[in-house]
């Protein structure tokens, strides 16, 4: 392989990249700059730029304890959901990586459903399952276990349940990919040498699959921090995460600059996590 890889001429490479770079520049880089300009309240009217700017919205973010708390809630939610999803998804990833049957290929289709049916479907589903007139309450009151319906919907627990569901696939995929690369002979060797199934799992499989767990953890963390529809609808009144707060700045208080500041903060978090992710992956494509 080594020296046999053909490299393109510079001209040809830029020609091939041209269309993507043009779209990315207009549809991604410029909007990013517009967001930044809005956060600094630059009176951005083409072609006159940079008349004045202010940091006062950033100061508000840094001094108002309310927003520090929202930021903390968001990160905490990311950590909790990532941890639960990792534990829940690991056995499934192992099962998919180690068994081959018609059932497993059906099962891998099943694990893709959360990505394919849309957030509105999943959110609606959990609203009907957890709601006051929903599935669980109907089951419990119908069987006489309780007389008054429980308040299951709204708040942390329902958002956590929903987020674990929608991010499940993102956790399964990288862990499954890593377990596939572990030689099954290693497990057999451990078993032959007298290790029980639990010891084999803890001392052989788990350490070798940590890279996949880390990759899944970071992707899920990112997804949770940026999630909006599900936390808004399952969290209910008074439940806030950064994206919900951004939406409220636009729709309720019409404070565009501050919405932009919150957005910049969220992007800064995302970039930090992505950098960490690139470090851990070292060029490996796991998802």
């Amino acid at each position: 392989m080594g020296g046999s890889r053909q490299t393109l001429g510079r001209g040809a490479a830029w020609l091939l990249l041209g269309p993507v770079l043009a779209i990315i520049f207009v549809g991604y880089v410029l909007p990013g700059l517009a967001l930044l300009a809005m956060s600094l309240e630059v009176p951005f009217r083409w072609p006159t730029v940079f008349d004045a700017f202010t940091f006062r919205h950033y100061e508000r973010l840094l001094t108002d304890i309310y927003y520090a708390r929202i930021l903390g809630y968001t990160l905490a939610m990311g950590a909790i959901v990532s941890a639960i999803t990792a534990v829940a998804a690991f056995p499934i990833a192992y099962y998919l990586a180690r068994t081959r049957s018609r059932l497993t290929s059906f099962y891998s289709v099943l694990t893709f459903t959360p990505l394919a049916v849309g957030m509105n479907m999943l959110t609606l589903g959990w609203m009907v399952i957890l709601g006051r007139t929903g599935f669980i309450n109907a089951l419990l009151t119908g069987s006489g276990v309780i007389s008054d319906p429980l308040q299951l919907l709204y708040g942390w627990s329902s958002v956590i349940i929903g987020m674990v569901h929608v991010t499940f696939t993102f956790m399964v995929l990288p862990i499954e990919a890593v377990i596939r690369q572990i030689d099954p002979a290693l497990e057999k060797a451990a078993r032959t040498l007298g290790a029980g199934p639990i010891k084999t799992f803890v001392q052989v499989i788990l350490p070798l699959s940590m890279q996949g767990v880390a990759a899944g953890f970071l992707i899920v963390f990112l997804q949770v921090c940026g999630a909006f529809v599900l936390p808004l609808l399952l969290g209910g009144q008074g439940f806030t995460m950064v994206p919900i707060s951004i939406w409220e700045q636009i729709t309720v208080s019409s404070d565009k600059p501050f919405a932009a500041v919150l957005s910049v903060a969220l992007i800064a978090i995302s970039i930090a996590i992505m950098t960490l992710q690139l470090r851990i992956m070292r060029g490996k494509d796991l998802v």
Partner: protein, 259 residues
């Protein structure tokens, strides 16, 4: 070992049921003839499946979402394939800087991206239209097509292209008759996923939609906030059915000319 794998199978079955349970529940309540969503459903009828077609917003949103989904996944695919070719043969800059950057629209919080687009269009003074939504969805389609195409390209033995070139094929012919058949199923998979992402996307479109360019998931979202009637469930079920049909069609397209 026997006992652990039996336990594993039980756990896998339980998770499998949980994964599709919300879908089953939504399908169940979509047949409720009542005026608001409740479980168990008050009866069985196709009332909302019929009434949704006389709801102008829903019909318009469906049409818009099909246009946006097809346009953005098509444009995203057409521009991502040459980019994948360039990155596959590019150097360290393409690998370490360009590729992660082109993938970043996948990880950036989409609500923030939608907001950035709103500010961008208000700076340019352009009125919001279907085109403004298509541009945003094209940007988030790129990572899906790029990633899978590049993975297939890296899998391809370099001798295939070399053999074609030695046999006298020009670069275009080598692409058309050697590379394209090889990457075809991967490209189709990436494109269909990009379509699904667009067809179900709420956060990128949310700030960009008006009465005229509203998309289906945003229309459903608005109903979920304001008006919790079984029609929302019926429309969601129809949305999933449309996705299934599209997936079946693209699977056919991706499967031919293989083996």
């Amino acid at each position: 070992m026997q006992r652990t794998s039996a336990l594993m199978r039980i756990y896998a079955a339980a998770i499998g049921v949980l994964l599709i349970f919300p879908l089953a529940i939504v399908t169940a309540v979509s047949f409720d003839p009542g005026a608001y969503i409740a479980f168990p459903p008050s009866g069985f009828s196709f009332r909302w499946y019929v009434e949704m077609w006389s709801n102008e917003t829903i019909v318009l949103a469906m049409k818009n979402s099909l246009i946006v989904g097809i346009a953005s996944s098509a444009i995203g695919t057409v521009i991502a394939i040459p980019a994948a070719l360039a990155i596959a043969r590019g150097g360290a800059f393409a690998e370490k800087v360009l590729y992660p950057f082109l993938l970043s629209p996948f990880t950036i919080p989409w609500l923030v991206y939608g907001l950035a687009l709103l500010f961008f269009w208000s700076v340019t003074g352009q009125p919001l239209s279907l085109g403004t939504i298509v541009l945003g969805h094209t940007v988030i389609a790129i990572p899906y097509v790029l990633r899978i195409t590049l993975a297939v390209l890296r899998d391809m033995p370099p001798n295939y292209v070399r053999a074609a070139r030695i046999s006298g094929a020009n670069p275009w012919q080598a692409f058309r008759y050697v590379i394209l058949p090889y990457i075809r199923s991967g490209v189709v998979a990436g494109a269909s996923f990009a379509f699904i992402v667009s067809f179900t996307n709420i956060p990128v479109s949310l700030f960009l939609t008006t009465a005229d360019n509203i998309t289906l998931p945003v229309a459903i979202f608005n109903y979920m906030i304001n008006n919790f009637e079984p029609m929302v469930a019926a429309v969601s079920v129809v949305q999933v059915l449309m996705i299934v049909v599209i997936l079946l069609i693209t699977r056919k397209i991706g499967a031919v000319e293989r083996g």
